[in-house]
């Protein structure tokens, strides 16, 4: 009888400890881990989604028809430099993907430091564009860079 009482007492103490200390702590650990993994998640937008977003952007354009993807390069913090072409011409497009993929510089829009400033476009994208500018125009560049950060 006495032994049974002790067992019951122990059961109650262990249950209370579990419910008040262990379970909330485990739940907190799990929630924190989940939150951190969400914060650091580095998702990549599919090429199809990129093309869809750009085609939606140029839908009402008289100058550019439907585009298809040539290449897509992902940069830090979900920035993309995308090369697309319509039936005749190839274009560079800058996209970002924070809450959803969004075109920052559309096909055929003039790409300089000045019209993308204050949006946090990584300078590596400008450098990549500059190389392409040089390749396309024989060295005439929109900006000179001395980048060694």
């Amino acid at each position: 009888m006495n032994n049974k009482k002790t067992l019951t007492k122990r059961f109650v103490v262990v249950s209370i400890f579990l419910l008040i200390v262990v379970i909330p702590f485990v739940a907190w650990l799990s929630a924190t881990y989940l939150h951190k993994s969400n914060l650091t998640s580095d998702t990549t937008v599919s090429n199809q989604k990129i093309v869809d977003v750009i085609n939606e952007y140029v839908k009402n354009s008289d100058f550019i028809g439907k585009v298809s993807l040539i290449s897509s390069t992902k940069y830090e913090q979900n920035w993309y430099l995308v090369r697309v072409k319509d039936s005749q011409v190839a274009y560079d497009v800058v996209l970002c993907d924070f809450d959803q993929p969004r075109v920052i510089i559309g096909p055929g829009e003039y790409l300089t430091q000045f019209n993308i400033s204050h949006m946090g476009v990584p300078y590596q994208i400008l450098d990549a564009l500059e190389v392409k500018d040089k390749e396309n125009s024989g060295g005439d560049s929109h900006e000179h860079t001395e980048y060694d950060s």
Binding site: F11, L19, P24, A27, T32, Q77, G120, E146, Y147, S149
Partner: protein
């Protein structure tokens, strides 16, 4: 071995309570860690000595939610810095805070009384000042600006005076 029913029952009840408790606390903790608590109202910035309206900062529409905000940089124009220079300086600081310091939504403060007109070499005017990231982490920035050739070079040094960033631009006016 026969386990008495009362024991099976109380362990079942305990298990159900633990499971329910886990989900309850899990959703509570998830809710509070996901809800972003943004500061609002006015905040005094001790480095620049100006008051920043955080409501204005929060309401700024931008495709990039990680952009930093600036405190006290408007006083640079009082020292004769052109709006073009200021635009390029701020753009460099945005890139620096995001991709070199790896800070999201940082506060970049102009350090009061740190502006120095260093010298004029030919057509180049050289000036420097200090800025802080999130109220600390003070850096020196040195700007070489040429308003005739329309070129600007911006160099950032860390607290031990080591060059950590350098970039030059052709200036395009708005």
């Amino acid at each position: 071995m026969n386990i008495p029913n009362t024991i099976v029952n109380r362990y079942t009840v305990l298990f159900v309570f633990c499971l329910t408790g886990f989900f309850f606390w899990f959703f509570m903790f998830s809710f509070f860690s996901n809800s972003e608590v943004r500061k609002t109202g006015d905040e005094y910035d001790k480095l620049s000595g100006v008051t920043v309206s955080l409501d204005a900062v929060n309401s700024a529409e931008t495709p990039n939610p990680n952009l930093p905000f600036f405190a006290g940089f408007e006083s640079l124009t009082d020292f004769g810095i052109s709006n073009d220079d200021l635009r390029y300086i701020q753009d460099v600081l945005i890139n620096f805070s995001l991709y070199n310091a790896h800070l999201k939504s940082a506060k970049i403060s102009f350090v009061k009384d740190s502006f120095k007109n260093e010298n004029i070499k030919g057509l180049d005017s050289v000036y420097s000042f200090r800025f802080g990231l999130n109220d600390s982490d003070i850096h020196l920035i040195r700007v070489t600006s040429n308003s005739v050739d329309r070129k600007i070079t911006i160099v950032i040094f860390d607290s031990s005076n080591k060059q950590v960033f350098r970039r030059g631009f052709d200036i395009y006016s708005v």
